[in-house]
Amino acid sequence: MTSALQGFLDAREIWEIPLAASVVAGALLGALGVYVVLRRTVFVSAALTQLSTLGLVATLLVEERFHIETEHPSEQLAVAMACSVLGALVLGAFRPRRLPAEATVGASWVVASSLVVLGASRLVHAAHDLGGLVFGNAVAVPASDLAVIAVVAALATAVHLLFAKELAFVSFDPETAASLGMRVPLWDAVLFATLGLAIPPAARALGALPVFAFLTLPASGALLLKVGFRPAFNVAAGIGVVAAAGGYVLSWVWELPTGATMVALAAVLVVPGALYRLARG
């Protein structure tokens, strides 16, 4: 154990950027997860991850078909983010009258998943890259991806600080907000755009499963602790950071899959909140 930890510390050059990306993504997704959980839209994040992957696959297909060689995957990330934001605006901000929202989210997830499989089956050269792009590669996050995550995190934080009261009001009671003249679809769009922007770069760094987990578990843990609305963002971000950093280190030391270790640790961090609720009855 000690030697494994020493080995980890000696390999700093390998893990410092991936670990930093994981920590920033963990904090960002943890905080955004408060809205995801309270608005009862946890499966929107799963659908957005699939839509983001669909964007990646579509870009790879186009590059192969038109023989466009790209040394840098920024174009793929840009298309993935565009798909994710568009999906977020449709799934999050659009409130269908004739179908339950779950039906739209479920349909989006399953259609996007099918198209990803179909698209991937047509890839010739890029197929081997797809696994890392979709499921994350925590030991090979380029500095550019860390920069994208950091910029998205800064932007999302600024939006959520500047418009905190509007986002909270329209999320908590959209009917009253609309009746008082607030532009609920606009504020919903702002909120879900931050989510749509955050998911693709986080998915590239952490993988699809951890993204879904980080949008759900840290916020659940924070909300179970009943700390209040605003503090819940800080607590959820903290849980996200601890789960991401702790999961990364433990996976290295114990030679476990990184994403799954992060998810498991995030789940463990929900336990204090659950125990607190049980104790309160």
Partner: protein, 294 residues
Amino acid sequence: MTAPLVALEGAAIGFGRRPLLSGISMAVGPGEFLAVVGPNGGGKTTLLRTLLGALPLVAGRLVRPRPLRVGYVPQRDHVDAIWPFTVGEVTLMGCVPSLGPLRPPRAPQREAARHALARVGIEDLAGRWYGELSGGQRQRTLIARALAAEPELLAVDEPTNGMDPGAELSTMDLLRDLQRGGGPAIVMVSHRIEAVANYARTLAFVDKDAALFRVGPLDEMLRPEALAALYRRPVTVREEGGRRVIVPGNGETGEAAPSTGVAAPSTGVAAPSSDPLPSPPRSGGEGQGEGAGR
């Protein structure tokens, strides 16, 4: 004559281009207490939200002679109690629309929220979680939130839904007290005519299935022939213990159901197919009803 705060002229209300109900002309003046009554799904909330400008008109005109400060109280069940807000935080939200973006609530808004909580008698609950309150306390919180904006017009959607008789009377007494003495005009939606018959000054009957819209002073609207249009059956209005009791009859016979003054048969106000609004007639001294009659 005082200028109305808001009025509809020859309006058709609905969603998109599909009218639910047409030929609506009405006005709400300062100090008014208007109750919009009709069956569930009859178009009451649509009318209310159209009056507030939250839904576009299908046809006709919405008239607002001047900018209007509005407070809105949604149906209690439409507000998700899972959100970890305190009563004070929920009340402060009433100031959000008037503040606009990039301006956080400051001392005047906090004071307005405190004052609003005091007006509805729950200032001691300011630090409690909204989700842990009783139905009546939640209703008072939502009313306080609407009052925090210091509205000239208070729009209230089904405030007594699902309440026990005591809480219902308490809520209605509160609304009446708020409206008296220069308080805001109130437009209240209810599917129970008995809930409003002892409080409102003006009644509007709305039922899209019967293409019914009728508005007038309370006494005029409580005449049997006016009520019969809403109930689609003969109706008797009785006075018991200083309160009006609405007693729908037994359909074709035209005979009013017997009123025991304690628990009347459940009958409806509304369309025969849905819902109706039976409200158990109460004896005058019941619960908090004392002094509640107009």
